[in-house]
């Protein structure tokens, strides 16, 4: 039935890192006590940053708009709790650079009071798809699997394209993380509600919830919750990283690849994360914007691993303190999963909509050996889920052969880290790819800018020339005009007193005629 294949297909490559999920698998989701201060970044999604729309000193309700979306691919930012906006300040972000970005600083008042005007849709399961999309859009819902792409776009199939299948991604293939697993175990019915709303928005009849088989509790809970609902089925997948990557998951389930440069909708599929389904439910049923999320705080370096429900904007330090602090010998604190997350240099970096985990890693979990020369073992080719040639890509990036990077398809790399995970030479392949991608972008930018510069310079020169020509023309005109005038004067004089006199004598003539 439908495009969902009856059997699972193995995607190419992949790795199976030590899971460490047992650290937090059994930790039920708990609420983090309200932090003293929230730093809500204005850019928590793919697309343009939001524009802050509150003045310092404003009293805000929970869920009140504080950042307006800037363009189509953007998302609004809402106050995660009620309180006072202290200001819009530069604050350190969970960006690999460790640089700051504008954040709304919010002092919670402790009441955690929702904005009174927030309302859900009536009859959400049969609502107009556009109304659902608008609700999702204005609630700032973005993909919670980590990509943070605005969700309403993925609920709006383009003209002429039909979403035959909705895939709900509960794979959670990153090691350590258990937040999605816990959500599925504890909120299975709510997730199904969200799925029904999504199906209505997409006008899609079929949905599959994909979960890796290391989460038996989640599979069981979701199966039970899905019993009531037609056309929603739960599929258990063998564990393999990066199975949760959108395109790889699609290949596993429908045996078709998304053509390079295309979107899943081009093969009739839409993929959303389980946590996104929950956020859609909150938005459509109650009008509650996305202002908090579940974060797995774990790692061998944390005293008490936990799954915490956290307001967006909470500094990482607050989560760590709540979990008993860091143990001695922590080498890294990673925001996200161990394969793709960002290592934080400053624990004041706030939780954002896309933050799935906070890992405190000891030296023995995160081996960082010095880079050795590539011995061309080919393990990276075997591990790459995109069937790239990582060693050659890294070699080209390393030697700044930027023009050759396109030929080895660097831009198709999803930065999953599988190649670096298996590399016996400990080459930081993903690091090279990131360097190479930015170098490619910079080169293109430089080229475009040079072209623009050339055009503007030519335009300026042309204008200068035109102005000069215009001046010349004016001068010439004036000259001609004055000549003509003189001629006319001479002629009139001649008319009065013929025959014509030579020009030099015109002056006295004029004098004569003046009075």
């Amino acid at each position: 039935m439908g495009i969902l294949a009856t059997a699972l297909k193995k995607f190419h490559g992949g790795v199976h890192p030590k899971e460490y999920k047992e650290l937090s698998r059994h930790c039920a989701i708990e609420e983090l006590p309200m932090p003293k201060r929230l730093y809500v970044p204005m850019h928590q999604h793919i697309g343009a940053p939001s524009d802050p729309c509150v003045e310092p000193g404003t009293q805000v309700f929970k869920g009140q708009l504080i950042g307006e979306p800037n363009g189509f691919v953007s998302a609004p930012v809402h106050a995660p709790t009620s309180g006072t906006i202290q200001g819009i300040e530069e604050h350190v972000s969970g960006h690999p650079s460790g640089l700051t970005m504008p954040c709304a600083v919010l002092i919670p008042d402790g009441n955690d009071q929702w904005h009174p005007e927030l309302k859900g849709l009536e009859d959400p399961y049969n609502a107009d798809p556009q109304a659902i999309r608008d609700k999702v859009r204005e609630s700032g819902v973005v993909g919670l699997g980590g990509a943070t792409f605005p969700s309403f776009i993925k609920l709006s199939p383009p003209q002429g394209k039909v979403a035959e299948l909705l895939i709900i991604n509960g794979v959670e293939c990153e090691p350590y993380l258990t937040c999605d697993a816990r959500l599925m175990e504890e909120h299975s019915q709510e997730i199904i509600d969200g799925i029904r709303i999504m199906l209505q928005a997409l006008q899609t009849k079929q949905c599959v919830i994909a979960i890796e088989d290391n989460k038996p509790g989640a599979i069981q809970a979701m199966r039970r919750a899905a019993q009531e609902t037609k056309n929603v089925q739960v599929v258990s997948l063998p564990v393999m990283y990066p199975q949760g990557a959108e395109k790889q998951l699609i290949e596993v389930l429908i045996h078709r690849q998304v053509p390079s440069g295309c979107l899943p909708i081009d093969v009739g599929v839409i993929v959303h994360n389980v946590a996104t389904a929950l956020a859609v439910r909150e938005a459509v049923l109650f009008g509650h914007p996305l202002v908090h999320r579940v974060v797995t705080v774990t790692g061998l370096g944390i005293a008490r691993p936990a799954n915490l429900n956290v307001p967006v904007g909470t500094p990482a330090q607050d989560l760590i303190d709540h979990c008993g602090g860091l143990k001695n010998g922590v080498k890294k604190v990673v925001m996200g999963g161990p394969m793709m997350g960002v290592a934080l240099g400053d624990l004041q970096a706030p939780v954002v909509k896309g933050t799935s985990g906070l890992l405190a890693m000891l030296a023995r979990e995160t081996v960082q050996e010095p880079e050795q020369p590539c011995i061309r073992c080919g393990n990276c080719l075997q591990a790459c889920p995109v069937q790239l040639t990582p060693c050659e890509m890294a070699w080209r990036a390393k030697h700044d052969l930027i023009d050759q990077l396109d030929a080895v398809h660097l831009m198709d790399c999803i930065e999953c880290g599988s190649c670096a995970y298996v590399c016996p030479s400990h080459i930081p392949l993903v690091h090279y790819f990131r360097y190479g991608k930015l170098a490619m972008a910079a080169k293109k930018h430089d080229k475009d800018k040079a072209e623009l510069t050339r055009q503007r310079n030519q335009a300026k020169q042309a204008r200068a020339e035109a102005e000069k020509a215009e001046k010349e023309r004016k001068k010439e005109e004036m000259r001609l005009a004055s000549e003509a005038r003189k001629k006319a004067a001479a002629a009139s004089q001649a008319g009065e007193s013929a025959p014509a006199k030579p020009v030099p004598t015109s002056k006295p003539a004029a004098e004569e005629s003046a009075p």
């Binding site: 790889q248 922590v330 080719l381 060693c391």
Partner: protein
């Protein structure tokens, strides 16, 4: 507690634990049974050959590091592996100075002058073996008959050492006395004289496949025990150090033409099992051609490479100027690796033509 500065490198933050020394050590382990068998079959001298080549490689590597003011690269274990791999195809009574020259050449010319591990174009052990073969043809093709340890033919420990150490620099006559042909050499010589394969290998030469597979034949000290080498190769496959692509395609590259020609004329062309169990085909397919640095990285490229190695081996064995062609075949194919890699890159996700 968070007073120590946190590291902020690029993801991924975990690693599978594989490293260059682990790979090299695993390959050495996989070679050791066959090497031990070499000592059992040919006596103590085989052990000394292995020790001398390995020492020569390790010392050369360290000296080169020192000359270039580089940190020692002995830790990656690749020099030791090169030494052992170099010893395997040598005659069990190779004079010590040939072992030293071979080891030095392998590391210096075969690897370090290219820039060290990872940059060399040719398999260092094989390029050294080819160098020795063309430089010292007499010593390199003087094959003593098996003299198993504990048998009455066996030389004592001291005698074995003496064979290697006291080997004069220039007395091919003496070595001639010891010399007799390997099965491959015997076959080529006799067939070129107009005899059939059966006449060449049967009768007084007394070749039988069973002892060939077990290693009880004349030949190089570590190449003869086909069964143990095969076991080592399977161990490497199981450990995922190598993939099936190169060994299987190389064996196919030799065995397929062997089957075809044997089928057309069994009197002139020996059967495929003869090709499989004599000479260095198995060690070549599982240990030499699979050298990571000098073989293609793409799966398709590895198959092309393996087939090329196998085919060239058969060509050289059957019509070439040397009775054995594994080393030459692999070295020739090594040179083609960049080209093969360039044109055998896999089709990436989403670029396949099968899409609607």
């Amino acid at each position: 507690m968070s007073s120590t500065t946190l590291l902020t490198p690029s993801s991924p933050h975990v690693h599978g634990g594989l490293s260059i020394p682990v790979i090299m050590k695993t390959v050495i382990w996989a070679l050791l049974p066959a090497a031990a068998m070499g000592v059992m079959v040919f006596g103590w001298s085989a052990l000394f050959v292995m020790i001398i080549t390995t020492l020569a490689c390790v010392v050369t590597e360290r000296l080169f590091n020192a000359v270039r003011h580089r940190a020692s690269t002995l830790g990656d274990q690749s020099a030791a592996l090169t030494g052992l791999l170099l010893a395997m195809p040598l005659p069990p009574n190779t004079p010590w100075w040939i072992c030293v020259i071979g080891g030095g050449f392998a590391i210096l010319m075969g690897k370090q002058l290219y820039g060290g591990l990872g940059y060399n174009m040719f398999n260092p052990a094989l390029i050294a073996r080819v160098f020795l073969l063309v430089s010292f043809p007499v010593q390199m093709t003087s094959w003593p008959a098996p003299a198993p340890l504990l048998s009455d033919k066996a030389l004592s420990f001291a005698e074995g050492l003496a064979t290697i150490i006291s080997a004069p620099f220039n007395t091919p006559e003496l070595l001639d006395a010891l010399a007799s042909a390997t099965p491959l050499g015997q076959y080529r010589m006799e067939v070129s004289l107009g005899h059939t394969v059966r006449e060449a290998l049967g009768g007084s030469y007394g070749f039988d496949l069973f002892s060939a597979a077990g290693g009880m034949i004349k030949g190089s000290l570590g190449e003869t025990s086909a069964i143990l080498l095969l076991a080592g190769g399977i161990y490497l496959l199981r450990k995922r150090i190598i993939t099936w692509h190169i060994p299987i395609s190389m064996l196919a590259g030799t065995l397929l033409p062997a089957i075809i020609f044997w089928y057309t004329d069994p009197t002139k062309y020996p059967d495929p099992l003869f090709h499989l169990f004599t000479g260095g085909l198995i060690i070549g397919a599982f240990f030499m051609a699979t050298d990571m640095v000098t073989s293609p990285v793409t799966p398709v490229g590895q198959i092309i490479f393996g087939l090329g190695c196998g085919l060239l081996t058969y060509l050289i064995r059957t019509w070439g100027g040397y009775p054995e062609g594994v080393s030459f075949a692999i070295v020739i194919m090594n040179a083609a690796v960049p080209l093969i890699d360039q044109y055998s890159r896999p089709v990436i996700y989403g670029k396949a033509k099968t899409h609607a």
